[in-house]
């Protein structure tokens, strides 16, 4: 079986608006950049996968027919993957499967977002919710995260200021990320003083609405340009969650509040990658977290620290860029979250760390292994990947 490796990567600077580009423009540019980065001839691709969550934000349904024309690999489309904000990592996993199975040699995964082309995301993301119960009591991404944060604060006696430590960490990391949308540091007090959206979630707790693009070329080891460490996909795990989040917040079944579903996905990935103690065997993590609370729950569910301790440990300096196990040294989704690209960006940032090409974001990797996650819906379905050099 062929070991799938990352041959090339590219990401577009994340911005609220990218008014000079159409969707097709963005895809084309990022695709060619990733192929150039790999050193592979654009005519030598035999697979193209599109990461594309709900197309209502784009205003073009089934955009693969419009957007993929003229891209490298456009005659070898293998499909569009739609798993909401987890699309990028799920698409990357599929590309790895094609290469690993020996049915494709070089598969390009692309995603792009133009977030400002729709007035707000309420209609677009409204299809997340049950039409009979969740529109009458309006549940959206913000209120869903708030429900998690309330439970977390109550269960672990964590204050709002402690909760804000993860946003402070990530915004500080974003200063060093040339691709980040938000590049100004914030203090805990600024987070605590920002407008209250849905208690206890404040505006600065939330990822911004982002436009952007990203692409990854996957292929067999040794088939890209030389001079780089081989970064291979060492293992994947995934867990499709419940549609009704209320079924997962009662005693005995509260994965919505404690991350047990994510832990199950991680256990699969760790088993395939041969990881027994993630705290000592993982060098760095790029975790998807559109809200600070998601990162806290993720750190704990992934076994990187005991339950209830993530916020305080971050406040004490753990998981920062200069710590033993940095989490989101890129700033994560806190600093930019284009939905189609965000899962790919986690893989790209992980790869850059392993290649030693992360620039100002570069951390000292204690282990040549990086963990990535992606989430579909409101902490509902989870994708976990382990990349190793």
């Amino acid at each position: 079986m062929t070991v799938p490796c990352v041959l090339g990567v590219a990401q577009f600077p994340m911005r609220t608006r990218l008014p000079d580009y159409t969707y097709a423009d963005l895809l084309g540019r990022i695709a060619y950049q990733a192929v150039e980065d790999s050193g592979v001839d654009p005519g030598d691709l035999d697979g193209l996968i599109l990461s594309l969550p709900p197309t209502t934000t784009l205003g073009v349904d089934e955009a693969q027919y419009w957007g993929l024309a003229h891209l490298p690999g456009s005659r070898h489309v293998l499909g569009r993957v739609h798993a909401a904000a987890a699309s990028g990592l799920q698409a990357f996993r599929l590309a790895c499967a094609w290469v690993s199975a020996g049915r494709a040699r070089r598969v390009l995964v692309v995603g792009a977002d133009l977030a400002d082309e729709v007035a707000n995301l309420a209609g677009a993301l409204g299809q997340l919710h049950d039409p009979f119960t969740e529109r009458q009591v309006v549940r959206n991404a913000i209120t869903s995260a708030a429900v998690q944060a309330s439970a977390y604060m109550a269960a672990h006696k964590v204050t709002s200021l402690e909760l804000a430590s993860v946003v402070v960490k990530n915004r500080g990391n974003g200063v060093r990320n040339q691709y980040a949308q938000l590049r100004q540091a914030v203090t805990g007090q600024e987070v605590a003083d920002s407008p209250l959206l849905s208690w206890p979630i404040r505006r600065l707790d939330c990822a911004p609405r982002s436009s952007g693009a990203a692409a990854i070329l996957v292929g067999a080891e040794g088939t890209g340009r030389g001079g780089r460490r081989t970064v291979r996909a060492a293992g994947f795990g995934a867990f499709a969650g419940a549609r009704m989040i209320g079924s997962r917040m009662v005693p005995g079944a509260q994965s919505y509040l404690d991350g047990a579903d994510l832990a199950a996905a991680a256990a699969q990935a760790y088993a395939v990658a041969g990881i027994r103690d993630p705290r000592t065997e993982i060098g760095c993590a790029e975790l998807y977290a559109a809200f600070g609370i998601i990162e806290l729950l993720s750190i704990e569910a992934l076994g990187l620290c005991p339950k209830g301790e993530a916020a305080r440990r971050i406040a004490d300096g753990e998981f920062h860029a200069d710590a033993a196990l940095p989490v989101n040294p890129s700033g994560g989704a806190t600093c930019g979250n284009p939905l189609a690209s965000t899962g790919l960006i986690r893989v790209i940032e992980a790869t850059l760390q392993l290649w030693g090409e992360a620039g100002e974001k570069q951390v000292e990797l204690r282990q040549p292994t990086v963990l990535v996650t992606a989430i579909a819906g409101a902490f509902q379905s989870h994708e976990v990947g382990v990349l190793a050099a």
């Binding site: 209502t56 205003g59 349904d61 707000n120 309420a122 209609g123 409204g126 049950d130 039409p131 009979f132 119960t133 969740e134 529109r135 009458q136 009591v137 309006v138 549940r139 959206n140 913000i142 209120t143 708030a146 429900v147 998690q148 944060a149 309330s150 439970a151 604060m153 109550a154 407008p195 209250l196 959206l197 849905s198 208690w199 206890p200 979630i201 419940a242 549609r243 009704m244 989040i245 209320g246 079924s247 917040m249 009662v250 079944a253 509260q254 509040l257």
Partner: protein, 161 residues
């Protein structure tokens, strides 16, 4: 109806955007269990569906359990009392939502094995006491003339926090 019209910059007259609308009419068909549930709401009853072979009671009811994939049986009454498992206080006006601030709670009805969303009314929370809602007892209160819709009821605390 799907419409697309070209737009021009007001000052320069340059063509610089296209406006579009995308309407897809949907008719959502509720499951058998949900239809029966809405009938129960009209009678001011809360009903849940028992999952065959497990004893688990699901609210809102479904024709099958999304976790075990087993079918569900005839609906059974649950509540109207319950326990708040989590909450948030919404301070923003979201599409189709009520004017803020409004407290959204997830309540596990007595006899149910899931938590259901709803709005909490009749409680003025003092700042700093919000978290006392978690684990608090409450009950469903109905409008005078329920229509068979999730908006027919709200929650009120059984005792002040």
């Amino acid at each position: 109806m799907n419409k697309t019209t070209a737009g021009h910059d007001a000052e320069s007259g340059d063509f610089n955007f296209v406006e579009g609308e995308w309407e897809v009419h949907q008719r959502y068909v509720p499951s058998r269990a949900l239809v029966e549930f809405f009938g129960g709401l009209k009678r001011k009853e809360i009903l849940g569906s028992p999952v065959e072979g497990t004893g688990r009671i699901i609210v809102p009811p479904q024709d099958f359990c999304e976790l075990s994939y087993r079918p569900t049986g005839p609906l059974v009454p649950v509540g109207p009392g319950g326990t708040i498992r989590s909450f948030t206080i919404v301070h923003s006006r979201f599409a189709n939502g009520p004017p803020p601030p409004v407290t959204m709670v997830f309540v596990q009805f007595d006899g149910a094995d899931t938590a259901s969303p709803g709005y909490l009314q009749g409680t003025a929370l003092q700042p700093g006491t919000e978290l006392e809602l978690i684990g608090a007892r409450c009950r469903a209160v109905f409008v005078d003339a329920p229509q068979g819709d999730w908006r027919d009821f709200w929650f009120e605390l059984e005792t002040e926090v």
